[in-house]
Symmetry: C2
Subunit: 368 residues, 2 copies
C-alpha cells in the first residue's frame, strides 16, 4: 500500500479570524525518492501568528502569501525516514520548512553547522528536546534575542515591557531582559497566564490586558515608566504602552497580531479592502476612531523614541551564535520553556484559530 | 531718557494659526546693569516652527510652554552694548536665547570655545555673516546634520527626501546628502521654491506638495524609491512618502509642522482638546480619516523601517565640531544659504504667521 501524506491546505482566504471550514485536510501519495532527495517524517510543526497575514491575498502582509490548495508552509522538526541525499541519513533530525503535513520530500541543501537558511535543512542535535527548535531555540527565540538585544539594547535597571508574555517570543524577551538586570513587566490575557509569567518566567509583574483597569495596572507595574517596549501585538495595548514610554525609549517591532485579522493595515491608497466584513470593520473604525498617527509621531519626536521593525529571516546569520549562547541557558534552567502541544494534524486548524484568539498557552506546536 | 526695550509678548494662546491679535508689542525700561551682567542689543532673532507648539497651554508640545505676557523666547544674535560680565566686552557678538526683543540683560555664563549650552551665551566669530548662526550654522543646521548623518546614515547612491526644502533644515539636509553622493529629492510648496531648491541648492528634483499630482510626481522623482526621509512636516506629505519608502529606510523625525496648529497631537486619553476650533477639526478628522496607525506600524514592521525622533538640544555637544566642519563649506560655497529677513520687531508677529503658512522663503529672521 502506498504511503499516504496528510496535509492541511487552505481552501479559501479567511475573513477576520479563520474558520475551520477555511481549511481542508487532504491525503496524497508520498512519491518515491529520486537521487538527492530525502523523505522527512514530521515530528512537530509550528503554528505561528505571522501565518495569518500570509493567508490574505492582498499585499497587506510583509511576506509571500500562501497559495490555496497546497500544504501550508511553516517550520517543522522532522526525522529522516529514507534518504537518497548525500548529507542525510535515516534517523537524522532536521529543522525544515515542511509545514502542515505529515511527510515531506525534500531536495534542499543542508546548512553547514547549526546555521539557518531559508530553503535549507538544518541538522539538529538532540541535546535538548527537539521541539524547542520551533520555539525558544527557533525563529521565535531568535526574534526575541535579536529584537531585545540588538535593537532594544537593554541596560541594567531599565524597564522592559513585552506582550504575549507566556508565548515563545514574550517569555524569551522577559527572561533575557531579566538576565540583563532589567525590571520586566509582561502583558498577557487572564490571571492564569499572568501568574505563570511571574512564577515560572520570573517577570517582576504581569498585567492582564483584558481588565478594565489595564492602563492603571500597567502604570503601577512600571513605576519608572518604560524604556523598551518589545512590540508584538499592536492595537490598544500599543496605544496604552505609548503613554508610559520614557524619553529615549526603544520599540523593536516584530509583530502586530491585533491587526492580522482585519483590514486595518490595508488602508494605503490604492489598496482594496479585502472583503465586506473588513469594510464593515473599517466603517466602524471610521466613525469611532480618530487618526492616531499625529499622536504617535508626536510621541516619537517629543520623547525621542526609536521604532524599528525587523523580520527575523534577515538575521539568520546569528542563529549559530544564538544557539551556542541559548542551549546552555536552557540546560541550566536559566531560561524556562512553556509549550502548548496539540496532538494530531487533524486538530491543527482549530489550534491555529485558538492561537489567533489568544487561547494558546505557551509555544503552540502540533505533534504528529 | 531711559533706554527702552521693545518686546513681543503672547497675550493669549492661539487657536490654529496664530492671529496678529494674539501678540502684543510692549516697551519696558532697560534696567541698569549689576555686577556680572551684560546688556545685549539684538541684531537678529530667529522665528522657528517649533515655537508654535510652545504657544499652547497643553502638554501637546515636547518643550516648555511660553508664558503669557513676557517676551517670547528664542535664539538671537546680539552685540554686547555694555558689560559688567567678566568674559564679555563691548562689541562682542554672542548667540543668546534673548528671544523676541530689542535688548536683553543677561548674567548667563559664557560657553567655552564655540560650544552651545542652554542658558549660556556663545561668543561668535564674524568670519561668516553673523545671522547664519541662527540658521545654517545654528540649531536648524545642527538639526539637519545630526538627523541626516547620525540617524539617517546616508550611503552614496541612496535616495534622500526632505520637505520644506528651501528652509534652513531642508536645504542643509539636501546639500549635506548631495555631498555624501545621494540622490536628493526635495518637497516644497510652489514652483518658485522647487526651482530654487534645484537651481541653488543642487537638489536632483523637487516636488510641489500643493499639486494634485504630488504622489505621482514624488514617485517619478524617486525611481529607486526612498532610503531616508528626513521628517519635519508630518501630515499628508508623511503619508505619501511612507508609500515609497524602501525596505530598511530610516526616518529621522525632527519636526511635525503640519500638526502644530491643530489639536490632532492631543488625542492621548486624558488630554482635553484645546478649544472649540480644535474640537471641530477633530470632529472633521473623526468622520473623514481612518486611524492610520495600523498602516504605519505595519509599514515599520514589513519594511523594517527605523523611525527615530530627536531634539537638537540633546546634541549640543556636537556644535563645535559641526561648526568646524560647516564654516569652510559655507565659505567655499559648497553649502549655500537662503535667508528671509524681516526688518523691524513690529513685523515679527506677521512674519511668524507667514512662517506657519509656509509663506517664508528661506531661514526666517527678524533684523533689528
Amino acid at each position: 500500500m502506498a504511503l499516504m501524506n496528510k496535509q492541511v491546505v487552505l481552501v479559501r482566504r479567511p475573513n477576520g479570524i479563520p474558520k475551520r471550514t477555511d481549511f481542508n485536510i487532504i491525503e496524497t501519495v508520498v512519491p518515491s525518492l529520486k537521487e538527492g532527495e530525502v523523505l522527512l517524517k514530521t515530528k512537530y510543526f509550528s503554528l505561528d501568528p505571522y501565518m495569518r497575514p500570509r493567508m490574505n491575498s492582498t499585499k497587506g502582509s510583509y511576506i509571500e502569501c500562501f497559495k490555496l490548495g497546497v500544504p501550508l508552509d511553516g517550520a517543522a522538526v522532522c526525522v529522516v525516514e529514507e534518504s537518497r541525499h548525500q548529507k542525510l541519513k535515516v534517523g537524522d533530525i532536521v529543522l525544515s520548512e515542511a509545514g502542515w503535513q505529515t511527510y515531506a520530500v525534500s531536495s534542499d541543501r543542508v546548512s553547514e553547522g547549526m546555521s539557518l537558511n531559508l530553503g535549507s535543512l538544518t541538522k539538529l542535535s538532540d541535546e535538548v528536546k527537539i521541539s524547542y527548535y520551533l520555539g525558544v531555540l527557533g525563529m521565535p527565540g531568535l526574534t526575541a534575542h535579536y529584537g531585545l538585544l540588538d535593537i532594544g539594547r537593554p541596560q541594567a535597571g531599565e524597564t522592559v515591557v513585552v506582550a504575549a508574555a507566556t508565548g515563545p517570543v514574550g517569555s524569551m524577551v522577559g527572561q533575557l531582559a531579566k538576565l540583563k538586570g532589567c525590571r520586566v513587566v509582561g502583558i498577557a490575557g487572564g490571571t492564569e497566564k499572568c501568574d505563570y509569567a511571574m512564577r515560572e518566567f520570573g517577570f517582576d509583574a504581569c498585567v492582564d490586558y483584558k481588565r478594565k483597569s489595564f492602563a492603571k495596572d500597567l502604570k503601577k507595574a512600571c513605576p519608572n515608566k518604560i524604556d523598551i517596549y518589545f512590540e508584538n501585538v499592536g492595537g490598544s495595548v500599543f496605544k496604552t504602552v505609548l503613554r508610559f514610554l520614557n524619553n529615549f525609549a526603544r520599540v523593536p517591532v516584530c509583530g502586530l497580531i491585533t491587526y492580522y485579522n482585519d483590514g486595518s493595515t490595508l488602508q494605503e491608497p490604492g489598496f482594496n479592502l479585502a472583503s465586506g466584513y473588513a469594510k464593515l470593520q473599517a466603517l466602524w473604525r471610521m466613525f469611532f476612531h480618530f487618526d492616531q498617527t499625529p499622536m504617535v509621531m508626536s510621541s516619537i519626536l517629543g520623547k525621542r523614541l526609536k521604532f524599528q521593525g525587523f523580520i527575523i529571516s534577515d538575521h539568520f546569520d546569528q542563529y549559530a551564535s544564538f544557539l551556542k549562547e541559548s542551549i546552555p541557558l536552557i540546560q541550566s534552567g536559566k531560561i524556562k520553556v512553556k509549550e502548548d502541544i496539540v496532538k494530531g494534524i487533524e486538530n491543527s486548524p482549530d489550534a491555529f484559530i485558538r492561537l489567533l484568539q489568544g487561547k494558546n498557552f505557551g509555544k503552540l506546536l502540533v505533534e504528529i
